[in-house]
């Protein structure tokens, strides 16, 4: 087990910079998720930690060593690929034991290690099968088993659940999380799925275009996103954004005023701001509420999603209570002023 520290890490491909000086500290035993839209550089960053991509500038520390010039095998890491990358011509046991075989371990010891890992992942009945004889979820588990057998300092996961169907993804999500709790190893996990990030991470690193947008615990990112991008990326359905003007303690959209709680607002009067409110922070109220013109109603059973608009701006609300309003009708809602996120329209940074 070890900590991983990225110091001003950069990646330049033929004069195009794709990673712009990333600084991230991953503590020993922490589960860190790198999340962002495709092309944000999260996989590249992971591959740089693994040693599969050259580090153009900056330093990567694993434990107390700088690993920049080390080959992947010397970094004491294990990686689980999106495609699983199982060797098709080897049995499950051979796949899992391959790294130990490369290290020159004795056959009996390899067998013991493989069986130990197989037991953790319930792979024992499958050890003599070939990858082509396994289902997607089983292959996924073998890929994890191959990583566990090595007992590495750091586990790296590159979108390991993307090839699974939705239901299995939820199951495997739980298994990986349980594995982390059991092994207590440092894990770095790349995904584009913010739900995966939220449910699994101790710490989330949100990336965009090769920059780190925010680092923090899942709930910290959810409750206090540092900028518009993080606010929009984390959470599903996404946060509502209403652009307006800040004046005398409230945000004005035309002549409708939206409440802002007494949190200190570092915005000067008349400034253009984005008013952010999460869908679940809307509540149905009596006649004095804001008029939400309903367009679409999506009942999920436990809650109902309502898509509509307020003063011409699109708003989504999530309500637990039932109501009778139909599409085309008006639902009176109020915003929870303590849950308001204010962003500067120009800089897109949080200002409350």
């Amino acid at each position: 087990m070890a900590n991983v520290n990225l110091r001003d890490v950069r990646k330049i491909y033929n004069q195009t910079q794709v990673i712009h000086g990333v600084n991230v500290d991953i503590d020993d035993g922490e589960f860190v998720v790198l999340v962002g839209p495709s092309g944000c550089g999260k996989s590249t960053l992971l591959r740089m930690i693994a040693g599969l991509e050259e580090i153009s500038d900056g330093q990567v520390h694993i434990g107390s060593t700088i690993v920049n010039d080390m080959s992947p095998k010397d970094r004491d890491i294990a990686m689980v690929f999106q495609s699983y990358a199982l060797y098709p011509h080897m049995t499950v046991a051979q796949n899992m034991g391959f790294s130990l075989q490369m290290r020159g371990n004795a056959k009996a010891e390899i067998r013991t290690q493989v069986e130990k890992a197989a037991k953790i992942l319930n792979l024992e009945p499958l050890l003599e099968r070939y990858p082509r004889q396994l289902s997607g979820g089983q292959r996924q588990r073998v890929a994890m088993g191959r990583a566990i057998v090595r007992n590495p300092q750091v586990f790296l996961f590159d979108e390991p659940l993307s090839n699974l169907d939705a239901k299995l993804r939820v199951v495997m999500r739980g298994e990986i999380k349980a594995l982390h709790q059991r092994l207590g190893s440092t894990m770095v996990y790349v995904t584009h799925d913010q739900i995966e990030a939220m449910t699994m991470a101790d710490k989330i690193v949100v990336m965009r275009d090769g920059f780190v947008e925010q680092v923090g615990s899942p709930l910290a990112l959810y409750d206090r996103p540092a900028n518009l991008f993080v606010a929009g990326f984390i959470g599903s359905p996404g946060m509502n954004f209403l652009s307006g003007r800040y004046a005398s303690g409230a945000v004005w959209i035309g002549d409708v005023s939206l409440p802002v709680s007494d949190l200190p607002v570092s915005a000067s009067e008349g400034r253009q701001v984005v008013y952010g409110i999460r869908p679940e922070n809307l509540a149905i109220t009596d006649d004095d509420g804001l008029p939400l013109v309903v367009e679409v109603i999506e009942p999920t059973g436990a809650e109902t999603h309502v898509v509509g608009h307020i003063s011409g701006q699109r708003v989504i609300g999530v309500f637990r209570e039932r109501f009778t309003t139909r599409p085309g009708g008006v639902l009176r809602v109020k915003f929870d002023p303590r849950k308001v996120h204010l962003f500067d329209q120009q800089s897109e940074q949080r200002i409350n």
Binding site: A50, G51, L52, P72, K73, M79, S83, A85, Y87, S99
Partner: protein, 296 residues
């Protein structure tokens, strides 16, 4: 009549016409294949039958008479193998072909692996040059090669034949394997790298085991080429005691030493090895050549 019933009633005659059309197409196809087979196999059959006929039979009647009065003799084979040196030249052919095949497969695989999986300067240029130079006829290099091996004193041995046969096929071999190696997912190679495998280990333990079919098809191809080559062994080995089947049969045809039926027996011996090889290994051959053509 309900809607469903009327639809069934309407589609029934249409279905039977299309079934008839399919049937006709099939008959035409089978006829064409049968005719092609006839054209291809009649000479082979005549050759085969003649090898079992005595010289006197052959001089009196055509080969098809063998089916009317079947009097097989083995004397042609005995004569071909013992008297004309064909037996020895079968061994020579094997000694010539097997190392050539093994070398071609190994060197093509190494070359293709380097071009497909390693990053170095001039990689693309090298690859293009290799593909491009294949259009040059091999006769072009024979004189310089002969001079070269004469200077080394290696003519009259198998070494120059092995080297030249390999040299002529390896570029094509690299071209064939390159596409296959390039299609092996890079994740596999990277996983092996993380697992601690060195490049030679990746080559021998990951890439080669996954390439069995395409390697087999290259091997079969090279076997046929090397087995059937006349010019190169003739130049470098002469028609002496080291000459392979092709050279031996050719000289037999010129000298007419054993008579026509002995010649046919000798020819058939030279054909039988590649024939057996192709028939038994054809599934690898087809799989290898078509490999990567469609998503598997």
């Amino acid at each position: 009549m309900s809607a469903i019933e009327s639809r069934t009633a309407m589609s029934a005659p249409m279905q039977s016409t299309s079934r008839l059309g399919n049937r006709l197409k099939q008959v035409a196809l089978h006829t064409a294949v049968f005719l092609l087979c006839l054209v291809w196999f009649t000479p082979v059959l005549s050759l085969f039958v003649t090898t079992f006929r005595s010289e006197s039979d052959s001089s009196r009647t055509g080969w098809w008479y063998a089916f009317i009065e079947w009097r097989p003799v083995l004397s042609n084979y005995v004569e071909a193998i013992y008297l004309t040196g064909v037996g020895r030249s079968v061994v020579n052919s094997i000694v010539l072909t097997v190392p050539t095949v093994l070398g071609t497969v190994l060197f093509s695989a190494i070359g293709a692996f380097a071009l497909a999986r390693m990053r170095f300067r001039g990689r693309i240029a090298l690859f293009l040059a290799m593909v491009g130079f294949q259009v040059l006829p091999p006769q072009l290099v024979l004189v310089p090669m002969l001079k070269f091996f004469l200077a080394l004193g290696l003519t009259g041995t198998f070494i120059p034949v092995w080297i030249i046969e390999m040299g002529l096929t390896v570029p094509f071999g690299i071209f064939l394997l390159y596409g296959f190696f390039a299609s092996i997912p890079s994740d596999l190679v990277e996983a092996a790298r993380i697992d601690g495998a060195s490049e030679p280990r990746i080559f021998f333990q990951i890439i080669l085991p996954l390439s069995g079919a395409v390697l087999a098809s290259l091997a079969i191809l090279q076997f046929m080429i090397a087995w059937n080559h006349l010019l190169i062994p003739l130049i470098f080995l002469g028609s002496g005691s080291l000459s392979p089947l092709t050279v031996q049969v050719a000289s037999l045809a010129q000298t007419n030493a054993g008579g026509l039926n002995t010649l046919t027996a000798a020819t058939f011996i030279s054909v039988i090895v590649p024939l057996v090889l192709i028939v038994t290994l054809q599934k690898y051959f087809v799989r290898g050549v078509l490999g990567g053509a469609v998503k598997g």
